[in-house]
Structure formats: C-alpha cells, structure tokens
C-alpha cells in the first residue's frame, strides 16, 4: 500500500500546482486507485477544498469539475439530456455505489487506465480537458500524452446533436471490462461522421473517426460490415480476461449493436 509523509489541503490552485512540482508529491482524487499502489509519496495534495466538485451546464458546453465523483456523473441530468443513458451506463458497473461516491472523474481521466470505461466513453464525445498549466486541449490529444505534473481542472463536453451509445462486457459484475466500446455519430463540417472508441483492449482507449454516410434503412449485413471494418482498425492484446481475437470479436459485436441502435433511433 501507499505510504504518505504529509497530507496538504491547499487553499488555491496555485498552491496545489506549486506543491505538485516536487517529484515525490502526488495529487489525489478519490484515492481509490492510488492507495493500492506501492508509491512512497512525500506530500499528497487533496484538491477537495478548491470547488472542483461541480457539474455546470454552460449552455454550449457541460463542464465537469475534476473532483466530481462517478456517482455525480451517473446521476447528472444535463449529461443525460445530452448523451441519453450512455454516461450512466459507462459508470454503473464500476464496483458499487460506495465506490462511485468517492472515485473521481479527474482521477479516472488523468490516470488514462487501460481498463477505463470512463475514458472510453468520454473519448468518443466532443470532449476537452482543462489543465492548470497546459490550457484546454482535446481529450484525444491528452490521452496520448505522458503523465506530467500538471493538474486536471475539468472535463468539458461540447454540446452538439450527436448520438451516443456505450456498452461493455464483463466476465462478472463489478469486474474490469473485457472490452468497452462507444459509438458517436453526428454531422461534422457538413459530413456525417462516426466516432468509435474502444477501451480495455486491454490497452487504453483509442479513437477512430470515419466519414461514413450510412442510409437509415441499411441492412443488417451492411451494418455488420461497417462494424467489422471499425473493429479491425484497433489493435488488441491478450491477458487473463480474454485473448486478442476474442476482444476483437466482442468489439465488432458491440459496435454493430450500438450502430444498429443509433440507426434505429434516427440521426
């Protein structure tokens, strides 16, 4: 388990950022993941006094403070209005309510975990991250950056008329996913665009963008072909939860189901 020398609850973001520049300092979110590691941390920086625990609907964007819990996200009406049940679906299998009352979106996104349902879901949406020092950048850029000493302040989802679906497969309830997939579609620069995000491959989620004009009455075979193509463009690995081949097969099935569901609802 982690060992910690000092616990500090800074009064300002500047103070938090300065403290975090020391090599042996660590910012804490809900501490759920960090506590299980063996790190020797000199100073742990608790961000809970800095007002980062609100979800704000700002008209054209929804801004989620990094210290918002996964449970807040699961129950957020503004996210439900924008994304349907997809966001609740991406967190509701994570351990239990008590866990989700503590684990934060900041820790989940900053951690860029391979198994992350949360990252997989938000990556397919029109999502940005706001960093204390690094400004606001696309999540798709952030996901490939090496962890550094910046502080994640918020996750910003731009509102648009996009359809979103999320699904995952687990061997047992509350376990890590064997595969996690989200599909988003909408008009981007006048073109019908499909975004596919596949996580738990078991590598961290990656994003694929396709400009596909799919007719509303596309046959099952046609949708299956698109899904096969999308799934084949990701790389997969094997671990104790499943082989690479099995994961690719599951990704294809989930993508097909999600595309079918979007097309049935109408874009």
């Amino acid at each position: 388990m982690i060992t910690i020398g000092n616990y500090v609850k800074p009064k300002s973001l500047e103070e938090a950022y300065e403290l975090n520049q020391a090599r042996s300092s660590r910012v804490m979110g809900g501490m759920m993941w960090m506590r299980l590691g063996n790190a020797r941390v000199k100073t742990v920086i608790d961000l809970s006094g800095l007002g980062l625990d609100q979800i704000e609907d700002e008209g054209n964007v929804i801004k989620i403070g990094a210290m918002c819990t996964l449970r807040q996200i699961e129950q957020c009406e503004a996210l439900k209005d924008l994304c349907g049940d997809g966001i609740a679906e991406c967190v509701r299998h994570i351990v239990g309510v008590q866990f989700r009352n503590q684990a934060t979106i900041g820790g989940s996104i900053y951690g860029r975990f391979g198994f992350s349902d949360v990252l997989t879901a938000f990556l397919a949406l029109d999502t940005f991250v706001e960093l204390y020092d690094g400004g606001t950048i696309r999540l798709s850029e952030f996901v490939n950056r090496k962890p550094d000493k910046d502080i994640l302040l918020s996750i910003i989802v731009r509102k648009s008329k996009r359809k979103f679906r999320y699904d995952s497969i687990r061997q047992t309830k509350t376990d890590f996913p064997v595969i996690a997939c989200s599909v988003v579609t909408g008009m981007v620069h006048g073109k019908e665009t499909w975004y596919f995000s596949v996580g738990a491959r078991p590598m961290k989620a990656a994003l694929l963008e396709k400009q596909w004009e799919i007719p509303a009455d596309a046959s099952e075979e046609m949708i299956a072909d698109y899904a096969r193509q999308a799934a084949s463009e990701f790389t997969y690995g094997s671990n104790m939860r499943g082989s690479a081949e099995y994961r690719q097969h599951l990704a294809e099935v989930l993508i097909r189901r999600e595309m079918t569901s979007i097309l049935a609802e109408g874009r």
């Binding site: 388990m1 020398g5 616990y7 804490m28 501490m31 506590r35 449970r71 239990g96 309510v97 503590q102």
Partner: protein, 159 residues
Amino acid sequence: MEIQFTLNKKQVTAEVGADTVLLGVLRDLGCKSVKCGCETTNCGLCTVWIDGKSRLSCSVLAAGIDGHEVTTLEGVEEEAAEFGRFLAAEGGEQCGFCSPGFIMNVLAMKRELDDPDLEEIKEYLAGNLCRCTGYMSQLRAIQKYMTLQNENSGKEAQV
C-alpha cells in the same frame, strides 16, 4: 495531525498520520461495527456514511475527514436493528460479518431511492459482497422491509 469530526452526532478528536485510513480510526473510537474485509474497495464491509453518503472507510484518508460528519451503524442503531430483524427472519444473516456494511448501504438506499425495483436494489448493493447467503435471502429481506416502509409512509401521509 489532529482531526476533529462529527461521529454519530458527537464531536470527536483523533490523532492520525497522513496515510491513516478512516476504518481504523473509527474502530479505535469504539465503532466496532465497522469491519475490514478486503482493504481494496471490493467488499463493502467497511461501509459508513460521510456527510450522508455511503463510502468505503478502508479507502478514505482520515486526514480528509476533518470537519466532516461520519455515521456508522452505532449511529442508526434502532433503524439497523429493525432491518436486522427482517434479515434474520429470511436467513439473510449467517456468519454476519458482512451485515454492518450491508445494512448501512441498505439504509442509504432507502434514503436515496424511491421505491426501487429488484434490479435497482441489486445494482445499489453490487458493492456489498457476502460469502454465506447467496444473496437471495438478503434480497427477500430488503423487499419485505421496503414494502413495510412504504406502507408505513403511506399511512403517515393519510393521517
């Protein structure tokens, strides 16, 4: 460092290290209902309420509790005993080790969800593991308990 917090409606003080977790502090303060099962956020045995919300005390830094309100089973004894009778009647308590954390989460669910169906109950309690019962007896106990609660609140509303 010294922390002060409200424990079961009483103000308490404790001396804690930077990496001390809440679970041990609560037991040292006499709340022996709080159990340690896994220490890795998986079993739910250590469930307490912090500012009214169910949390896993094995994974909460005690230092962060300064100024907050913590409730353990000892703080809701009567209500817990009432539900405990349903649990016993249905055979939903065998070794009983999971019961305090489980009861705390059932009572949190009662406060948070309005008339939950079986699927909602299962989902809410997914983080409370039990090695003995196979869960069916626990679910029966919850459903009977919730039905009685709804009947009672209906009667109160009529008065």
